[in-house]
Subunit: 337 residues, 4 copies
């Protein structure tokens, strides 16, 4: 870390910054020029809050020389992590396909979708049993019954189950039914939950928070890895902006940015990002072209009867068309689907 003092910073201010850095276990080298003083701090800055230093009196700026994450960094592990779940994988040459209803509503609905996902070559059945809903008065999911339906539908068609866990206390139950634990956007910085799934043997799908920077997202993944679980995939699902036509703004540039910074595979969810059924196909193709390692989409046999997010769900015919067209794009970037 390099700390640049403001011109006119007093000797007492320089000493305060120095002693604070030393308290943090760093060794400090001082270089005072005509105009200003620059302090170089060497050591392991893992525990240092750069913002705190930046805002000390007399400090003009702080340069982070090391990135704040370690285990998720591509410097730490150059080759991309490949997560294996049953016969499916995320991060390999083949693009992972995760599809299913927003909410598990019934056996019939779920088995129908699972059959279609399997026929399209998908590896993962997704579906919510516990739904985080903005209003307490809307449908909150079937709970354990939903998990059981998911498990049986997936088993019948040789799929893996990925489903959301909302709270530390739910982890053991969800682990019994699911092959991969999903952390939703609203929980991206639920640190006790991140630590808990970090102690799980099941891989984790970590959605980006609605207003999370890429750095914060990677640090959230760092919580999981540093608790012992290295099997983490990231999922871009749109960020919040001033644009109101789409539900969120899908940030596809996060795909190459994450792939440069980290070895973790990255999946794109165009359904939640756009909130608009007829925009899912174009955005899924764009995600594949941008290099995504997986796609997660909402599929429902009768979207117009869905109990949640029907307007963004594809029906089975549109889903099959989407896969076919994405497959063509995948070939042009050297992947299969």
């Amino acid at each position: 870390m390099i700390v640049v003092m403001a011109p006119g910073a007093g000797e007492d201010q320089i000493k305060e910054v120095t002693s604070r850095l030393e308290l943090m276990g760093l060794s400090v080298h001082r270089s005072s020029g005509e105009e200003r003083t620059v302090l170089g701090a060497v050591g392991d800055p893992g525990g240092v809050d750069f913002e705190d230093i930046r805002r000390l009196p007399g400090v003009r700026d702080v340069v982070k020389i090391t990135v704040p994450f370690k285990l998720v960094s591509r410097v730490f592990q150059p080759e991309t992590t490949v997560i294996k779940v049953g016969k499916a994988e995320i991060g390999g040459q083949r693009i992972a396909l995760m599809a299913g209803p927003c909410s598990v509503e019934s056996e019939e609905q779920t088995f129908q979708v699972a059959e279609s996902v399997a026929r399209q070559g998908g590896g993962f059945l997704r579906g919510g049993a516990f739904k985080p809903r903005t209003s307490p008065y809307t449908f909150q999911g079937l709970g354990e019954e939903g998990l059981s339906i998911l498990r049986r539908a997936a088993d019948q068609h040789g799929l893996a189950v990925v489903t959301e866990v909302l709270d530390v206390s739910q982890v053991p139950m969800v682990e019994r039914y699911a092959d991969m634990l999903q952390i939703g956007a609203r929980n991206m910085q639920n640190f006790p939950l991140l630590r808990e799934v970090g102690r799980s043997k099941k891989p984790v799908l970590l959605k980006r928070g609605m207003s999370a920077t890429i750095e914060e997202w990677l640090l959230a993944a760092e919580y999981v890895l540093s608790s012992g679980n290295r099997q983490v995939a990231l999922c871009e699902r749109g960020i919040r902006t001033f644009e109101t036509y789409t539900r969120n703004t899908l940030d596809l540039s996060s795909v190459p940015v994450v792939q440069q910074l980290s070895h973790l595979p990255i999946v794109v969810d165009p359904s939640h990002a756009t909130g608009l059924r007829d925009k899912v196909g174009p955005m899924a193709r764009a995600a594949v072209a941008a290099g995504a390692d997986g796609l997660m989409v909402e599929v429902h046999p009768q979207p117009e009867r869905a109990l949640s997010d029907g307007a963004q769900s594809l029906d089975l015919a549109h889903f099959e068309d989407m896969v076919r067209r994405c497959r063509a794009v995948a070939e042009t970037v050297g992947r299969t689907l």
Copy 2:
């Protein structure tokens, strides 16, 4: 709810929307004009997801006629809720003053601050024992020891304790020490936690999420109230924008907006919002002038030695100066402090 169909919407689309609304328990009145059809849906739309209807094929727009929250609404309860905690209160004629260190670090630090808060007439000692930190490698708080220090410091000076609870499993422990349970910005949509504190006898301070709309914030409060706990205060602490000079952008207009929509009292935290010590005073005064029911500020005897957020903490002298100047503003808006 009024659903406006697009010009050219087909009869099948109109029927699909109609049958979907009826499935939700609403009765539907149809009015077809030359250019378009408008559907009026009457009934209790508490459980309806408007966005889903808006995105059905053939729908141009949806008007929400009832607001999506009930118990928190000023229509439901016209008079402002006054929360009483020991001798202190929030929502009354006197502006609540909540102050203390970002993190509880030691007995000495906490007792020193508590003494100052009490001398300034403050009612609440704030301080973090469990800290949600972006990086897993930074200081995470003293845990239960921190709670115990807070309790003793508050008791010695006749203050109430307000402190953050991070997870459902922590609620019983935090309840033993605290007078008011704080839900942090990152947990504003941690719905299991909201329901859990909704079952508590202790009042709740609900911080606005970093990118939460006012409507989402009020719906989060609705989770707490609908679980049985009516003692909720809201806390504006800045939202995330593109501006980087300040940590967040303090949205002071949320104060009169919330006060119009809801009967819940609203507190403003200028420390987290700005992240800059010398901006805390002006923003605290502005909050009082805007009509805030309380102020929450970070105070530390030696901010330059703080283990977290030192750069935004006031020292004791600046804190006392801030209170004195806010008191003058309070008088001009008919309040005391």
Copy 3:
């Protein structure tokens, strides 16, 4: 337009809204139910500011039944506009390729790039002669000399010139050299300039403003069309969000959204959007997959010596690689490049 009054809105408030709508030339139909009154306003609402009505006392909500733009709407003209510039076109089956340096710096630089653009099958040479720069102290462009260099380089290689015009007074000069007039992001709502290029015979490339909604962008295009010039292409170049890793956030979902709402073709500029050279290729491929009608990229023979935006410019080899890979993606969406 439908105006929904709040429950409890007084007769005087209803009358005020009614008379205001009538003042605007609309005829108003009133329907009062048990709980509330709804006003339907029929007529040409072209000149009505919906927000004003929405904020009148007693008004709960306003539904826009007609979209606020006309000439740019796909309802008004179902088939996509195809802009022909010399042998090149935008909006046809072939994806338009626009490339060149951020700033025109010298003959040698510009001719070198033009040669490469032509060899790759591109139709447009882009380059700035007048540069809008955030600071008054940075390089502001070569002015008319730059235009002359662009013209000669384009002519030698059979390309069309697209370049930015900053001000009404510059239009005649830029028109003499350019084949297409670019309106930059900072000028998207410079209404006198929009009207002025609306009176030009040259086609217009209208960049999206840094924080413009899609509706505002289409209304800016409406200014140009309503002044007489129907030859307008839109250009998505990233919007401003809280993410700092990329310069802006490329909003690729604007491509299918615009194509649904409007008949105007849409071009994507991944160079300005990301600000990062190695992200241009993936985002260009994604844009093609999403259905973009054109690509605009910055190319420089020696990006490391560029006087502006060098860090986001491709060198000639990377540019040629980008085109080759985009061409493969184009085929999968039924286009050529």
Copy 4:
């Protein structure tokens, strides 16, 4: 400027950065440690685009040691600029009061408001004669007739006129009628216009762009000052965020931030920021408490009949009440109004 190279940056990358900095006229000092190389560049970096350097291959980070603006900086001029316009001033002990209709609509309307502004002790009559409107089909202002009405109304009541100029070509006409030239939010980065008003003898009111950072805003002011006009006041009018309840989000923390960075006075416009009449009063009081040097508000004798922005305009009685209450707050911060 300090450039920090990435660990593993090659010798060729270091040389490229060095030679580029030297090309910009800076002298470069190299310091290579075990892990990485740091380059210090000394000289006048006025013309350097830091972002370009930051994005060169092999560069980890760049520290700006000097701020990018000069003439507007408080380092350059420690005492606050006081702008004198007739008997009124901005930046002095007395808070400037600017009020008037959004659009000039008629003599009667304008004279009525002017009388009220004068009676309240205001110094400036505001009002739009040329209105920048999102849609080409809404009321665009009375043009020169509007300017003439403004001038006569102001003269009758001893007020100064502040009004918007939309384009370079309008400057001479607006200068004939106005005492102060307003640059609207949409034109904050219209650089030819900034240079043109920079050559005027009339003071300038520069509104913050809808998505402008404080640094960009100050650099826009730098354009005006560097063209010769030192009489510039800034105007905060809200920034664009995801919140939809208010039209924009008033960023009141920009007041103390600007006052620390710059000697230019800062005015706050709560009418455009909130878009809601009943939020104007609380936000005006908050602005005064935060230290604003002026207030700009929209006033209309019959807001419900206004041709633009009626919903955010105060009527005369509410305006007078607002002034009275702001005056009380002003006293508590050592100002008059």
